[in-house]
């Protein structure tokens, strides 16, 4: 299963793919030695149903996690987070960094038996940058000057200017040209009957119930050991957990409470392995900067002063996470360890708010300016209990400095289309998942504030713009690091987001599944090697 390289993706619950640097896992037992055998099924659960299995068009985690089994990119991250070949056997980068030549694997077959060639790569590139294609993932490919395919097994990509995330961006899923070329991709039946090159192929999609994938015998890295992957649709989170306990599903991401309080007993630990490592994502509260309420930097700094991040980590994550101070994972090379940001200090918050003209006048405990109370609504997405808890804790802290924050929970698709895309919000609590490359153009560059684009808070800072462009325009890691560290200082100063925390990922997998090797990339990086010893197989033909 390929790791998704889409640089930044709005995260939902249960995003297992794209895991990051791992600390030693919480609980582990020695792996069995012996030759892995094929067979058995692994059952997972999703709260929402996948919308389309063409990953280019999907914006929900359920679709991406299924598509992750079915497609490959040219490159992928290995378990140590090094870029290695996937559909590409090898590649060369020209001395100036402007030309990448990929040599494709030979003999790779699409799941319908057709041969994979450079034509598929060219098509994928073209359809991604086609303005008629409704996708959020076009930005990186727009930097490409041209793509040439001198022969069926060579792809040569040329850039105008050095583009640091170039190589990583070719990890995007390659789509089958022979099934899509000349057709409208938005109407393609591949959305429900995908054909990829990956280890699993779609066997059956029962709407509203489950998606069944089966091992693709012709997978170029060898057939995966587990015969089948079944993803069941279970809309209620309490039901999902009971299914796990009753053995109805084999793998899920635990909540902090489940991890720490509900699954410590030996009967659970005998049946499941639990893993714990920092997730590659952070949760933040973002302010709509077009709103006069938040245009004053003093107000934003005051908000951060008023929020106790330690309390969030304790209350929401039961301590299983770290505070976030910027858009990078603590410990990664682009991360700046010396950021000075507003610390928790309600008195300082009140002082800053007073400076900005917000005072308590009528004894109701709410600050006012020109008679108008300091009041706003924060939006967060449905189906994420952690974010709702976060909002509630922040609500109380803000109330104590005189700010009245209301909370509204909205379903994902509606959230994106009605509120985010139309800029129809005051503040949001959301998360970003982080790619391995530190480029943050999509989220922070001032050119990305248009409709459907990801800088939806409307952040504009000339210096940040320059640094982002400089950072992606060089291959010199030290130089890049300098750019990103400076960006973090500016963001800490300006507080367009209050960065909240980096949670720990807490997946659990049935103990009968062996061959799981936790690594910096998480646990699913070598999914095709997962296997179940014959005498423990549960689902036999």
């Amino acid at each position: 299963m390929s790791v998704r390289l889409v640089p930044l993706l709005l995260t939902l619950l249960f995003l297992l793919v794209g895991c990051g640097r791992a600390d030693p896992p919480g609980v582990r037992r020695p792996q069995e030695i012996g030759k892995p055998v094929d067979g058995d099924t692994i059952v997972t659960g999703s709260i929402g149903e996948a919308s389309t299995l063409i990953p280019l068009l999907a914006s929900d985690a359920a679709s991406h996690s299924i598509a992750g089994y079915i497609y490959n990119g040219l490159v992928k991250y290995d378990k140590e987070l090094n870029l290695v070949g996937d559909l590409a056997r090898s590649w060369e980068v020209s001395r100036d960094g402007l030309v990448i030549t990929f040599h494709l694997r030979r003999g790779v077959k699409w799941q319908d038996g057709h041969e994979f060639t450079s034509r598929d790569v060219l098509y994928t590139y073209r359809v991604t940058i086609d303005p008629k294609t409704p996708t959020s993932y076009a930005e990186d490919f727009k930097q490409v000057k041209k793509v040439e395919i001198p022969d069926p097994y060579t792809v040569r990509v040329t850039y105008d200017h050095p583009f640091a995330p170039a190589l990583a961006s070719w990890g995007s899923s390659v789509l089958p040209a022979h099934l899509l070329e000349g057709k409208d991709i938005t109407l393609s039946e591949l959305a429900r009957r995908p054909v990829g090159t990956g280890p699993y192929r779609l066997k059956e999609w029962v709407a509203g119930q489950k998606i069944t994938l089966e091992a693709f015998e012709g997978y170029f890295e060898g057939r995966p050991h587990l015969d089948r992957v079944v993803d069941r649709l279970i809309p209620d989170s309490a039901t999902m957990y009971m299914e796990l306990k009753a053995g109805g599903i084999d793998m899920m991401n635990l909540t902090p409470v489940q991890f720490q309080r509900q699954t410590m007993d030996n009967s659970f630990l005998a049946r499941f392995n639990k893993y714990r490592y920092p997730a590659s994502s952070y949760v933040y509260m973002g302010y709509n900067l077009r709103n006069p309420l938040f245009s004053d930097v003093r107000v934003r700094r005051a908000l951060t002063h008023a929020i106790n991040k330690e309390e969030l980590i304790q209350g929401v994550l039961l301590g299983m996470g770290q505070t976030a101070k910027g858009p990078y994972k603590p410990g990664s090379w682009a991360w700046n360890p010396n950021i000075k940001e507003p610390v928790y200090d309600p008195a300082a918050a009140r002082k800053l708010l007073a400076e900005a003209g917000w005072r308590e006048t009528d004894g109701d405990g709410i600050l006012r300016r020109g008679g108008k109370p300091f009041q706003f609504t924060v939006l967060t997405n449905q189906g994420n209990a952690e974010r709702l808890k976060t909002a509630q804790i922040i609500q109380q802290r803000l109330r104590s400095v005189g700010i009245d924050m209301k909370i509204r929970v909205i379903e994902w698709a509606s959230f994106i289309t009605h509120f985010i895309d139309n800029r129809n919000f005051e503040a949001v609590i959301l998360g970003w998942s982080l790619g391995q490359d530190p480029d943050i153009f999509d989220v922070w560059h001032s050119s990305k504030t248009g409709k459907k684009e990801l800088n939806f808070i409307g952040y504009k800072n000339d210096e940040v713009d320059r640094l982002i462009v400089a950072g992606r325009g060089t291959f010199d890691q030290l130089e890049r690091q300098r750019c990103y560290r400076r960006i973090q200082e500016i963001l800490a100063q300006e507080q367009p987001y209050t960065f909240l925390y980096v949670p720990d990922a807490l997946p659990t997998v049935s103990a009968r599944v062996r061959g799981i090797t936790p690594a910096p990339a998480g646990i699913t990086h070598d999914f095709i090697k997962w296997h179940v010893p014959r005498n423990e197989q549960k689902y036999t033909q």
Partner: protein, 262 residues
Amino acid sequence: MIGGAIVLLLFACSFFAPFLTPYDPSHLDAWHVLLPPSARHWFGTDELGRDVLTRVLYGARVSLKVGFVAVGIAVFIGTAVGLVAGFYGGWRDSLLMRLVDIMLCFPTFFLILAVIAMLEPSIWYIMIIIGLTGWMGVARLVRAEVLTLREREFVLAARGVGASDLRIIVRHILPNALSPVLVTATLGVAGAILTESALSFLGIGVQPPTPSWGNILTAGKEYIEFAWWLSLFPGLAILVTVLAYNLVGEGLRDALDPRLNR
């Protein structure tokens, strides 16, 4: 009788909530989440460290408010429609009763869901929409009563002395038509409390930080096996309240329905 006593007790609890508990219902404490019941917290604490007893007491206010306002709206509309239809008859009657028939065809919960989700889940919308979808039974009852009442001697007499329609309706018919409504209304309060809890389960009930029995219970459903106190107490509160209202309703029905007392 028991039902009535419980209902009174509930009113007392929700009214005197601030005196019964030293805690603030929305005061949270991240370092003391999901504590089991103890001398300090009789009903334990919830997933954000709030005192569950306090929240259940304050939740009573919200849940009862939802029940009463929603039913108030339903009774108001239902009575008005029933009076007009029954008193005037003719095309007004047919039109209004067809409207009742139509409204009765909709799965009420679907209508409520559609409206709440498309507007926003505020407690006011919830009360209003439960009321707007719950008046049909009342309308039918009132109409039936009015049909018999309007031929009775005292109504005919009032008409004979030249009383206006409005006066007849308000002075003579309404008071006599209301007793069956009382039963329906009592049951309606119970129904509205359940509807709110169902909406909360779907995440579009009364929104935090305001506690309602429905949203406390919903928060508790995630921890049903180990933090049983979080779901047990609000669950019991709903159960006992709805039960009490039903018993009161039954009692009223028996007392008001002469036919069964033969």
